[in-house]
Symmetry: C2
Subunit: 291 residues, 2 copies
Amino acid sequence: MVGKTGQGHPPGTGAKPARRREGLPQISTNPESAGTELQRRSQLLWEAQPRPSRGSKPKLSREDIVQAAITVADGDGLAALTMHTVAERLGFSTMALYRYFPNKEALIDASVDAAMGTPPQRSGTRAGWRREVRHWAYAKRAMLCSRPWLAELPFVAAPHGPNWLSWHEAFLQTIADTALSPEDKMDMLSVVHAYVSGASDTAISLARALSRGISPDEWAKAVGADLCRAINDPRYPNLSAILTSQSGGISDSSPLPVRAGKPRTMEEGFDFGLERVLDGIERYMVSLEPP
Amino acid sequence: MVGKTGQGHPPGTGAKPARRREGLPQISTNPESAGTELQRRSQLLWEAQPRPSRGSKPKLSREDIVQAAITVADGDGLAALTMHTVAERLGFSTMALYRYFPNKEALIDASVDAAMGTPPQRSGTRAGWRREVRHWAYAKRAMLCSRPWLAELPFVAAPHGPNWLSWHEAFLQTIADTALSPEDKMDMLSVVHAYVSGASDTAISLARALSRGISPDEWAKAVGADLCRAINDPRYPNLSAILTSQSGGISDSSPLPVRAGKPRTMEEGFDFGLERVLDGIERYMVSLEPP
DNA sequence: AAATAATAGTGTATGATGTACGCAATTTGA
DNA sequence: TCAAATTGCGTACATCATACACTATTATTT
């Protein structure tokens, strides 16, 4: 099925004239002044609307809707997250949601941020940056794997909501005591973030497959099978050699080749890579000390 | 818009009985025997169909269709990649495509693999693993940025086509001469791959924004603006401090905070992180030598 | 050569989806 | 009390993926 968000399409394809219809005040974010589309999306994530005093009271709230959306996505995947299913879960009509979010994208923006949750709070005691970064990385990975639909949405650099910033903040807290410059700290955040999200992809893919009804066994076999196509294919001498070396096979617990003697689970693979990354960071930190 | 693949939906939602209709031989992959869905997808990527000898000659080929699909996605993004637009570009009816691919997902599977292209061939001379891995990483990043729609598709661990394996093969070639065990080599592949894909996300997001009609300036402002919401917000003390430190601002060339004195472009940020990862790998390699 | 079998390409139909629009009920400031 | 603004909803529509049936095409069989 591919990663469908199930979008149908905005009927009026061309640039929307942003005309002010009378029927729909559309969330607001005052229609004319509002800047870029990106800015508008960001606003919706950060700025609360001051409840108007005139009309009838809303029976829903953005939070309600976001919670419902998350529940749907958690349960049946991103493909099941439609305006209809969300509204249905709340016992409202599809169109009711549009009083709270201008479109599905806005609902997803909000749901993503909410679904990320808040990062683990650091214990009062300082455990050393390495241990803390590791902890952060595991937490982030766990968060992503527990909601595989988050990774189904293409990464967008904006908009970023409160929780997204919280995760960044939490990371920066882990290295707050180090000698890194402010700029270096941001770089380290980028490195670790990049590794964690990239390295979680396989586990996320498995999680998604599971919730899609594919058994772990089936999945492992399929992944292993594709790799094994390399064997004896002259185009892939190195891959072929590695796959056929000694233990060579595919372990049951993991679709990836096992390490001689010690089979690696995906967790262990993640861990191994993380330690390499941390080593690299540590080396950089050490290099700052001498002078 | 979110990352839509523009899927409409498969009308028959429940598990398809895989019944054999008479009207549509459906690609084939013989209907009853075929194993898992995953296996079936993989087959389509790897196993050529032996042209049937009975009926009329096909006027298209999978390659034709894949090329058209890639052209559409390159030009107008993944959202524009519909069975209709692809068929239109080829001058055929929408349904004609279904004689070559059982569904859109299969077409995308094939398009993704083809769009990845082949990795850069290593020059005959050995340049040292570090330089070669670096080269591979840059090439992969460039490939992803040049086709930002690839990253719009959720990562799936399977199926993986020939080109995907080629990229893996090329990586393994770069470290073929090292003392790493076969298993370690696979791990290194995982680490570098994870970093590269994770670290390319921002650049990819920018590339996507650009092709969506958003100016680099707008984009940078939006990304920077979200970060700046942290300033003076008690929830984000570390982030706030870093953003307001010295140079603190947002450089024009990049939405990310600039490093004291030396503004970093996204490329430089990628490079910085990559060197940390390579340092970590190098340290591991060195640790293997003594014994 | 004619008949047969199987495939390729197409038109039409269907159900899902996001969302525009306008109406009716609700709430409150004037 | 009344008018203005707002909420929730039914309906309408465009766009998708795709099922199905029909025709034209081609090779094999007779």
